[in-house]
């Protein structure tokens, strides 16, 4: 396969001093972020903090009238300087995205099989038959039940959780190096969410993708992200390993986010803070 040989020199993606303003209004005010292959990096914050815009900036999908500054470094170049043609080759192929609402991100009138193979065939030039075989394999990987039948179905025939698995399959089928997951489980029930979180962790481990997880839910963050950046008003106010950020938040804003959760008590500060019980924070 293509990826075995270039997986070794995968470098992830680095954001340096990124600024975004839309119609002159600053949305992101100079942030740094590093995505590491095989690791999940968290970007936390409330709605309006600019975290989703950061994800869209990586894909070159910012709305009209936006101005960018700083750098998004990927594969030896600054993505912010790429033109549409170059971006067209990256988007969906090497940098992919999973959105919050799969009913909105999938096309309602195309079969799952078609949606899985269209961009795959454009990017790789694969034959229809090979692409379908790959689609089947990818649906198996994301554990959609009865993948052969699923290929012929339409989005409305799936439950929300199954549909998000399909959306993840669409994102990973081209074997991207970077996966941007923007609130991937927010629309799901806790039990379904648990399954999707496990899937994301597993994909990250098995495929060595560099994942950025964007969410306002620090519980989800704690489950997946090894390092967490907390964003507010377009700035990163705190960054560090998850244990430090969630259990000994330095910034009052981070603390208020943790305290706002209904089940934070046993973990924040005090009780469990002995040196032995701390896990080693490997990098």
């Amino acid at each position: 396969m293509v990826d075995t040989q270039n997986r070794a020199d995968r470098q992830g993606l680095s954001v340096r001093g990124l600024t975004v303003s839309i119609h002159g209004k600053p949305i992101i005010r100079g942030i740094d972020l590093d995505l590491v292959p095989g690791k999940i990096t968290g970007l936390a914050g409330e709605s309006g903090s600019g975290k989703s815009m950061t994800g869209l900036a990586m894909l070159g999908l910012l709305p009209d009238g936006s101005k960018t500054g700083g750098e998004i470094l990927f594969d030896g170049r600054n993505l912010l300087e790429c033109d549409e043609r170059e971006y067209g080759k990256l988007r969906g192929a090497r940098i992919a995205m999973v959105f919050q609402d799969p009913t909105a991100s999938l096309h309602p009138m195309l079969t799952i099989g078609r949606q899985l193979t269209d961009h795959l065939r454009v990017h790789t030039g694969m034959s229809k038959r090979d692409a379908m075989a790959k689609a089947l394999e990818t649906l198996e990987r994301v554990k959609v039940p009865d993948p052969a039948t699923a290929l012929k179905k339409y989005p409305h025939q799936f439950s929300g959780g199954q549909l998000q698995r399909v959306a993840i399959a669409v994102a990973i089928i081209c074997e991207p190096e970077i996966l941007i997951a923007d609130e991937p489980t927010t629309a799901l029930d806790v039990t379904v969410q648990a399954g999707v979180l496990r899937l994301l962790q597993q994909l990250c481990d098995e495929l060595g993708i560099a994942v950025v997880l964007i969410t306002h839910d620090l519980g989800v963050m704690s489950s997946l992200a090894e390092r967490i950046s907390v964003m507010r008003g377009g700035e990163i106010v705190e960054e560090g390993p998850r244990y430090e950020v969630l259990r000994r938040p330095q910034h009052t804003y981070t603390r208020s986010l943790v305290e706002a959760l209904p089940n934070h008590e046993p973990f924040l500060e005090g009780a469990v803070e002995s040196a032995e019980s701390r896990p080693e924070v490997g990098s």
Binding site: Q193, Q201, S223, L246, L257, L261
Partner: protein
């Protein structure tokens, strides 16, 4: 002994499926809501909790059993005006984008609620906005000028304005930021109780429900599988299904613990 404020007795709701057959969404459920109490109804999507709530406010026809609000039978709403005695049931829906009218100011929409209140002097629009922690000078604004959390507060203010005796929240916090969910839920509890109403709070998130509810009913596949005080259900769940729901709540332990699908 007084009859409870709301009494759901052996209620079933059946949906007809396209191409014949039917789906029993709610299967012989019994549940009471007492005066000035907060009852949480918890379960996964598709378990029938929303259907039950819709039946309670007359939006869904029942196929068996009876729902009584202050002794009056609740029937499905038709084209006629809702009977006077059932007007004291109010609902807050999941999506405030859809439940507020985009073309009218929030002040006038809250005033709608006030007009339905038998004691019209008990609240004012400004006072209600203050209660839901919004500045009172926003009355002239339209729903799109507010964030999701603010919109849900406006929907809550409107529901309270009409002087309900039973407030139903159907996943009212599911579309809000995690940091806001507990706050809005607590606000609903406080306002409902202050206004002398009971609250039936529906959610899939037991973590939030247990902090605001006095008692919790857990629903699975149209049936209530467990029912007890919040503390009891949270700390000593009896049913495997409840345990599974609890295990699925991600912990903010900072250790990378994946929430379990089964409590193993």
């Amino acid at each position: 002994m007084n009859a409870p404020l709301l009494s759901i007795d052996n209620v079933s709701v059946r949906y007809k499926l396209p191409g014949g057959g039917s789906l029993t969404a709610v299967n012989e459920v019994s549940l009471d809501v007492a005066d000035s109490s907060v009852v949480g109804l918890v379960g996964e999507s598709g378990c029938g909790k929303s259907t039950l709530a819709r039946a309670v406010c007359g939006l869904e026809a029942t196929s068996g059993g009876s729902i009584k609000f202050k002794g009056h039978e609740v029937r499905k709403l038709g084209m006629r005006r809702r009977p006077e005695e059932l007007m004291r049931i109010q609902m807050v829906f999941q999506n405030p984008y859809a439940s507020l009218n985009p073309r009218r100011t929030v002040g006038s929409q809250i005033a709608d609620g006030l007009r339905a209140n038998p004691q019209q002097t008990s609240w004012s629009v400004a006072g209600l906005l203050e209660e839901v922690e919004l500045p009172s000078d926003v009355q002239q604004r339209f729903p799109h000028q507010f964030s999701g959390g603010q919109r849900q507060r406006i929907a809550i203010a409107r529901a309270i304005a009409s002087g309900p005796e039973l407030l139903i929240g159907d996943e009212p916090i599911a579309s809000l930021d995690a940091s806001l969910q507990a706050r809005v839920a607590t606000l609903m509890r406080r306002l409902a109780l202050e206004a002398g109403a009971s609250l039936l709070f529906i959610s899939h998130d037991l973590a939030v429900v247990r902090i605001i509810a006095d008692e919790v009913a857990v629903m699975n596949k149209g049936v209530i599988v467990e029912h007890g005080t919040s503390q009891q259900v949270w700390e000593q769940p009896q049913e495997a299904y409840t345990k599974r729901l609890l295990a699925a709540i991600p912990a903010v332990d900072g250790l990378g613990t994946l929430p379990g699908e089964a409590a193993s």
